[in-house]
Symmetry: none
Subunit: 416 residues, 2 copies
C-alpha cells in the first residue's frame, strides 16, 4: 500500500517554516508497513493543490494533506479536495456547533469566517477536532482516499493517531503488523552504543528481522529502536521481548526507559517508590529542570518546587550559597542542599554552569556542575563539559541532571 503526503503552505516554500510534519508522517507510515514514495510542499493555491492531488492519486492508494484547513481566506485545502472529489462543500452542522460552543466557552465573540472550517466536501467523513477548531477529513475518491489534517503539529499528530492511521490500517490488504519497541538510553554516544551492540547488529543484518536503528532525540536521549514485521501482535511481542533482553544485557543502566517512558516520568516513579520528594535549585537551566518534571501529570506528589536562582545574590541570600564564584562543584552542592532546606524536600538537585554565548568568571561555555543531595547521604557532584550552543547546553544539562538523580535513586534502591 502506498500513501503520499502533501504539506500545504506558501510559508513552507518560502522557507519561513521547515516542514517537519511530512517526516513525522513518513515515520508513522513506515511503522505501519505503508510505503510513502513522494512528499510534496505546495503553496496556498487551490488549482495547484488540486493538480498535485490528482497526480499523486494516479499512483498512490492514499494521500495525506497537512495544512490549509484554517478559517482564513488563504486556507483552500477543503476547496481543492472537493474539486478532486467532484462534489460541493456543505456546512456540517455538528462541526459548526462545536466551533460556536468553543468560542462561547471561552467567552469570546466568534468571527463569521470561523464557520469556513465547518465546510465539508459532500461524502467526506469528519475527524472531530479535540484541540484546535479545524476538523480533519476522510475523503473517498473512488476506491482511494485523501485525508486532510491541520498543519499545526500537535493537532496533526492527534488526528493521525486517532483516525488516519487506523483507517489506513483497515484499508491495508497486507495483513502483517510492523511493531517497534524503543529503548531509551542516556550516557553513551551513538557510535558508542553501536560498538557495544556490534555483534547484535551483525546478527540482525544477516537475519533481516527485527531491524535495529539508533535515533538521536536530543534531550530525550538516544533511542535504540527494534522493529519487526510479523503476522500478528503476539508474534511481534515475542520477537521484541527476546531482542530487548539481548540489548539490555549489553547496555545495562544506560537504558533508562522503554516506549513511552521519559527520563522525567522514570525519576518521579523512583521518588514515589521511595516516598521521597525533590526540590531543585537551578541557574543555567533557568527553570527547565522544573518545567520538565512538571510536564508529567501528577508530578506534585514527588516534586516540591524549584528555585531558579539566576542572579548570584539569590544564590547567596536565599539558598545560603557561600558568596564568591558560583560555577563550581561546591556551589552546586550548596544549591542542592539549600533547595532541600528552603523548599522542604528529602532530595535536592543543584545545577549551575555557563550556557554562553560568553564565558563567565573565566569558566568556559559548556561547563556545568550538577549536585545531588539526599537526606542522610553524602552530597555528590559531577562536572560536565557540554557541546553546542546555548539552547543545546541548557537542554543537555537538564537531562544529565535528571539522569544523575536517576542513577543515585537506583543505587539507593539497590542498597536497601
Amino acid at each position: 500500500m502506498r500513501c503520499d503526503v502533501v504539506a500545504v503552505g506558501t510559508e513552507l516554500l518560502l522557507g519561513q517554516i521547515v516542514d517537519t510534519n511530512s517526516a513525522w508522517i513518513g515515520e508513522q507510515l513506515a511503522l505501519n508497513g505503508i510505503d510513502s514514495l513522494t512528499q510534496i510542499k505546495i503553496g496556498d493555491n487551490v488549482g495547484r493543490i488540486e493538480a498535485v492531488l490528482r497526480r499523486l492519486l494516479a499512483d498512490a492508494d492514499a494521500v495525506i494533506v497537512c495544512g490549509g484547513l484554517g478559517p482564513t481566506h488563504d486556507d483552500v485545502t477543503r476547496e481543492a479536495i472537493a474539486a478532486v472529489m467532484g462534489v460541493e462543500l456543505r456546512e456540517d452542522p455538528v462541526v459548526a456547533m462545536v466551533i460556536r460552543d468553543l468560542f462561547a466557552a471561552r467567552g469570546r465573540p466568534m468571527a463569521a469566517n470561523n464557520l469556513r472550517q465547518a465546510q465539508v466536501p459532500d461524502g467526506a467523513v469528519v475527524i472531530p477536532q479535540t484541540r484546535g477548531t479545524a476538523p480533519g477529513l476522510i475523503c473517498p475518491v473512488g476506491d482511494k482516499v485523501v485525508y486532510a489534517v491541520p498543519g499545526v503539529p500537535h493537532e496533526m499528530r492527534d488526528m493521525l493517531e486517532r483516525a488516519v492511521l487506523p483507517d489506513l490500517r483497515a484499508r491495508n490488504t497486507d495483513p502483517a503488523v510492523i511493531v517497534s519497541r524503543v529503548l531509551r538510553t542516556w550516557g553513551e554516544s551513538e557510535s558508542g552504543l553501536n560498538e557495544r551492540l556490534d555483534d547484535i547488529v551483525a546478527r540482525l543484518d544477516v537475519a533481516g528481522d527485527p531491524t535495529l536503528a539508533f535515533l538521536a532525540r536530543g534531550w530525550n536521549g538516544l533511542e535504540v529502536r527494534l522493529t519487526t514485521r510479523q503476522p500478528d501482535e503476539q508474534a511481534a511481542a515475542r520477537v521484541l521481548d527476546e531482542w530487548e533482553a539481548e540489548v539490555r544485557g549489553r547496555l545495562g543502566a544506560l537504558v533508562f526507559g522503554v516506549g513511552d517512558e521519559s527520563m522525567e516520568s522514570v525519576v518521579l516513579d523512583l521518588l514515589r517508590d521511595e516516598s521521597l520528594t525533590v526540590a531543585i535549585a537551578e541557574s543555567v537551566t533557568g527553570g527547565l529542570v522544573a518545567a520538565r518534571l512538571t510536564e508529567v501529570p501528577g508530578a506534585s506528589d514527588a516534586f516540591r518546587g524549584s528555585l531558579v536562582s539566576y542572579a548570584s545574590e539569590v544564590k547567596f541570600g536565599v539558598l545560603d550559597v557561600t558568596p564568591g564564584p558560583v560555577v563550581n562543584a561546591p556551589a552546586a552542592a550548596e544549591m542542592a542542599e539549600g533547595a532541600m532546606r528552603v523548599l522542604g524536600s528529602s532530595v535536592g538537585v543543584g545545577v549551575t554552569g555557563v550556557a554562553g554565548p560568553a564565558e563567565q568568571d573565566d569558566v568556559p561555555v559548556g561547563t556545568v556542575f550538577v549536585a545531588i543531595a539526599i537526606a542522610g547521604a553524602e552530597t555528590i557532584t559531577r562536572q560536565l563539559r557540554l557541546p553546542g550552543q546555548r539552547d543545546q547546553i541548557r537542554q543537555f544539562a537538564v537531562i544529565n541532571a535528571l539522569d544523575l538523580l536517576r542513577r543515585q535513586l537506583v543505587l539507593r534502591v539497590g542498597a536497601t
Copy 2:
C-alpha cells in the same frame, strides 16, 4: 522565473531525517525574486527521480536537486539527470584527480566507488567541490536547467551561494526581490485578526502585492506576514513600511514585536529601558516562564529568578501566600508580591492555575490566574480560560503572563 526543488533520499521519506535543505533554498530563491511553487522529497530511485524532473521541467524554468551525489550504489541523481538530458555519463578527469588527491592527502586508501562521483552527464558544467568529495552540476535541458548539489547542508549551501544562485540570477529576465516582514501579535485569534484587517485584506487581494498571511506559532503568538515583490530592497522597504503602518493602525498593542523579536526579548528590553528587574512565582507553568526568559542571552541583567512553588506549602511557607485555596486571583497577587520580596526585584509575576488532566479544588482545567506587581503601583490580576491539553495550557499561560507584563510595562512607559 520559477525554480522548483527536489530533495533526494529514502531516509527523508522515512522521517529519519527532516529535509531542512529545501526550506533554506526556498528562502534564498525568494530573496532573489524567484518563485518556487513545488518542493518534492523523493527516494533513491533513478526512474522516479527522472519522472519527477521531467514533470517539474514542464512548468518550471529550473530545478535544484539536493542529494544522491555520493559514492554508493544508491546515489543515482547523476543517472537520472543524464536520462532527462538524453546524454551519457562520462568521467570528468579534473574531478577524478581532485578526489584521488583528497584521499592521498588524508593518507587513506580510496575505495573504487568514489570515482562514481566523477561521472558527469555529457554537456553539464561541474561546480567544483570545496568541502566534500561530490562536485555539483549545472545541467542544461533545452533552454531550462537542472542543478545538482550534495545533500549535506553545509556543502549544499556553499554551492548554492557560490554557483547556483549567481547562475539563476544571470538567467532571470525579471530582476526583482521578494521581501517579507513579520508582525508578531498576541491577544487575538487568527480569525479575529482577519476580521480586524478585513478591508486591508480585501484591498491587498485586489492589488495583489504585498500579500498578507496569518501564521499560528503556538506560544510564540500569531504572525501577520507581509510579502512584497519589488525591483530592489529599497522599494520593498518602502512598500512594507507603508503597509506595516496600516496594519499596526488596526492592531495597536496586539503587535508585540517585529521580525526576530520575541515576547521574551521584548519584555526584557522594556525592563532594561526602565531599569527594572523581574522575579517570577509560578506553579502551573512549573518553571516555563523563567526558562523562556532565560532563553535570551544576557537575561541576567533584568531577570532575578523564579520560585517554582509547585507544592502549596512552598507557596505558604516561602512566598507567604495566605493558607487556603491557591488557584485564585488573591493567591496570584500574593505570589507576585512574594517573588518580589524573596528574590529582591522591582517587578513580580505570579502564575497559578490548573493544567489538568484533573480539576483541582473544584477549579476547572484551563483556569489560570496571572498577577503583575510593580513596586509603587497596585498589583493587577487577570483570570484566563485556556483551551487544550496540559502542555498547551501551560504554554499559553506563559505567553499570556509575559504579554500581561509587557502591556503593564508599556502603560508605565506611556505614563512617565
